[in-house]
């Protein structure tokens, strides 16, 4: 938000401005310095964790941390891409809850809260993803065609879609879910939760796309200066729309995985998660003004939040002070990463 005059530390070159340098640094990087900002904070957390609890550094515990963060990670992936493109999506958390609900009520019998359509059960997952995409597309319609503010459109959708969730589920948790729908969130592949693999693959694809592909790079151009991007022949509306749709699909996927992990869809699945999504993305170096940050940085943000949460659980912090301590650690981590990178945040 802040428009501070940047004081970017410059080239590793000689001290005279006029020496045009050949590119010694890699041109595109997974992460710029500011995206590695969290690494020190993460290491400090790791060390503290190892001291406090012998469980902390066990593979089992770390694997659990990863699994617990998959839904958040996918939402952050979606939000990071949307933010880089210079837009906003608050409705992801509702989509994460509603897409599975609608998919489920379309396939299960009325006795299990179904709508009576009873479509084949294998359709549940694909349906869920499609519904997520449609919500993203609808957001895109309002934002791009009606030129409404993305923030406010998706805030309206946050409420509306959560409302549809409650309406369609009758407010109750859906317990009787097709086995196929639980598979991805529950199964293990090679000793690690399938959902972790899926999130990992999604991030790798995202990182490669945003680093090495024209369409991916165009997100930065659009987020940085949409008029300049347009003048360079980038189809800004089409790209933005696509990103919003992918965002919806990823949120729906997160919902599927979370459903498998939790074994049911509660009426408040995903509620308030959007705050954590923004926290992770912004802590990870994504700018709310668009055009800046990397997906790798965002992933670090997710991991940091997960580690803090895990640590506090292992420490058995009292319920009454849990939130205060959690918030304080986030603030300290922020200050730490600010001091280690020496870069103002946006």
């Amino acid at each position: 938000m802040t428009k501070t005059a940047s004081t970017e530390p410059l080239s590793p070159q000689t001290d005279v401005a006029t020496a045009p340098a050949s590119g010694r640094r890699p041109l595109i990087r997974f992460a710029r310095l500011r995206d590695l900002a969290l690494v020190p904070a993460i290491i400090v957390l790791m060390i503290i964790g190892a001291i406090i609890s012998p469980t902390f550094l066990t593979l089992g515990n770390l694997a659990d941390v990863l699994q617990q963060q998959t839904a958040l990670a996918l939402l952050v992936l979606a939000e990071a891409m949307i933010l880089i493109t210079g837009k906003f999506d608050l409705s992801l958390e509702s989509t994460m809850g509603f897409a599975p609900v609608l998919a489920i009520v379309l396939v299960v019998p009325t006795s299990a809260h179904g709508l009576g359509t009873e479509w084949p059960q294998w359709m549940a997952v694909p349906l869920c993803l499609v519904i997520g995409g449609l919500i993203g597309a609808f957001n895109g319609l309002l934002i791009l065609k009606f030129q409404l503010s993305a923030f406010i459109v998706t805030l309206g959708m946050l409420i509306t879609v959560r409302g549809l969730h409650i309406g369609f589920s009758g407010g109750s948790s859906l317990f009787e879910l097709p086995q196929s729908f639980m598979y991805l969130g529950f199964e293990k592949w090679f000793g690690l939760a399938a959902s972790v693999w899926i999130a990992l693959i999604a991030f790798v694809i995202g990182i490669i796309a945003l680093s090495y592909f024209r369409q991916g790079r165009s997100l930065y151009a659009i987020g940085g200066n949409v008029d300049a991007a347009k003048a360079a022949g980038i189809r800004t509306n089409a790209v933005t729309w696509t990103v919003l749709i992918i965002g919806g699909v990823l949120a729906a996927l997160a919902g599927t995985l979370e459903t498998g992990r939790l074994g049911a869809i509660g009426a408040n699945m995903g509620e308030q998660l959007i705050f954590m999504v923004f926290a992770a993305a912004v802590i990870g170096g994504i700018s709310l003004n668009g055009g800046k940050g990397t997906l790798f940085g965002a992933l670090c943000g997710v991991l940091m939040l997960g580690l803090i949460q895990n640590l506090l659980t292992l420490m058995s912090v009292s319920g009454h002070w849990f939130k205060a301590i959690y918030g304080a650690i986030i603030l300290i981590a922020l200050v730490l990463s600010r001091l280690t990178t020496g870069k103002a945040q946006e």
Partner: protein, 330 residues
């Protein structure tokens, strides 16, 4: 009902009009327990001949509750049934209603302050105690137990947590309790349990304060970590839940969990409306046992609370037809 005194001085100025309008506010629309309650209310209204207005829903927010009550009143409600989830911030509203002689019945929770005609509730401290005793006995007084605390900002979450802790401390000092703050969120419970099982693979018991939100996530974690073992297995984790929704009964039958407290959604609805009507008729009540198996107790402020029975359900009585969890949706 018993415990009822002769028709005496009316609490409201409306004595004698049992058909006056009764306003009902539902606290939330996103919980299995409350959904059952929402279903029962109109049903009992018809049965008890209560002139119920269109109910409002405060969506978990006390601001909404206050606004809803104002508008119910504006539309002519002469008695109000509500279930404030935030039990403090309703004080002024109660005060105003009292001034205007509109009797109030609260359900599920009791206000911290202010006068109400009747509280229809169950003893939430007893929930915690029952869960504690059940686990304590099953574990033989030692071992490790995980407790999913409800939001500490809710009187129910606090009552259950405090009673459970006090009982454990007093009766089973050798049992270690891990209190996990969850804000009534299933995903937080799931993460905490996973972490805790990793740290202490020898967890022996779980107390979840609301089956409506914690049941599925808990089972799912146990399933994935191969902890879902029959009661006969020495490594079986004893689980006691709370709420009494049909899914919990299902799990008890399957042996996945061991017990739950059936919080009577049906009786909450029935007796709330009953008392609302009684208030309109100008009846008054006093402490003592009732004719419907409950006890009215004085809870301070001159308020009365009808503490309805909330039975512990185990494998032995899970098929009891009288339990609301066995009736709803059948």
């Amino acid at each position: 009902a018993c415990g009822e005194s002769s028709t005496g001085s009316a609490p409201g100025g409306t004595a004698g009009d049992p058909n006056a309008k009764v306003g009902v506010d539902f606290p939330r629309a996103d919980s299995d327990f409350w959904n059952s309650y929402i279903k029962y209310v109109p049903q009992f209204a018809k049965e008890l001949n209560v002139n119920m207005m269109d109910p409002t829903n405060s969506q978990n927010k006390v601001e909404n509750l206050v606004a809803n009550v104002q508008s119910l009143q504006g539309q002519g409600a002469k008695a109000i049934v509500m279930a404030p989830q935030d039990t403090g911030a309703i004080a002024t509203t109660l005060q105003r209603l009292e001034q205007q002689k509109i009797p109030v019945v609260t359900v599920d929770t009791r206000p911290d302050n202010g006068k109400v005609y009747m509280v229809v509730r169950a003893d939430n401290k007893a929930y915690g105690e029952k869960a504690c005793k059940f686990l304590g006995d099953k574990l033989g007084g030692k071992g490790k137990v995980v407790e999913f605390q409800g939001a500490l900002s809710s009187v129910n979450g606090r009552d259950r947590s405090e009673a459970f802790a006090a009982c454990m401390k007093q009766n089973y000092p050798d049992i270690t309790v891990f209190e996990e703050p969850t804000d009534w969120e299933g995903s937080k419970a799931s993460s905490a349990l996973q972490t805790r099982l990793n740290q202490h693979p020898d967890i022996k018991g779980i107390y979840m304060q609301a089956g409506g939100v914690f049941l599925a996530p808990t089972l799912q974690v146990l399933r994935s970590t191969n902890h879902l073992l029959p009661a006969s297995d020495p490594n079986h984790i004893f689980i006691v839940s709370n709420d009494g929704i049909p899914q919990e009964f299902e799990s008890i039958r399957k042996g996945e969990i061991d017990a739950t407290v059936s919080q009577p959604a049906d009786l909450y609805a029935k007796w709330a409306l009953f008392y609302a009507k009684a208030a309109l008729e100008g009846k008054t009540f006093k402490p003592g046992p009732t004719d419907h198996g409950s006890t009215i107790v004085e809870v301070g402020n001159g308020n009365l609370e009808d503490q309805l029975p909330a039975p512990l359900v185990t494998k032995d009585n899970v098929d009891d037809k009288a339990l609301w969890g066995n009736q709803i949706g059948q």
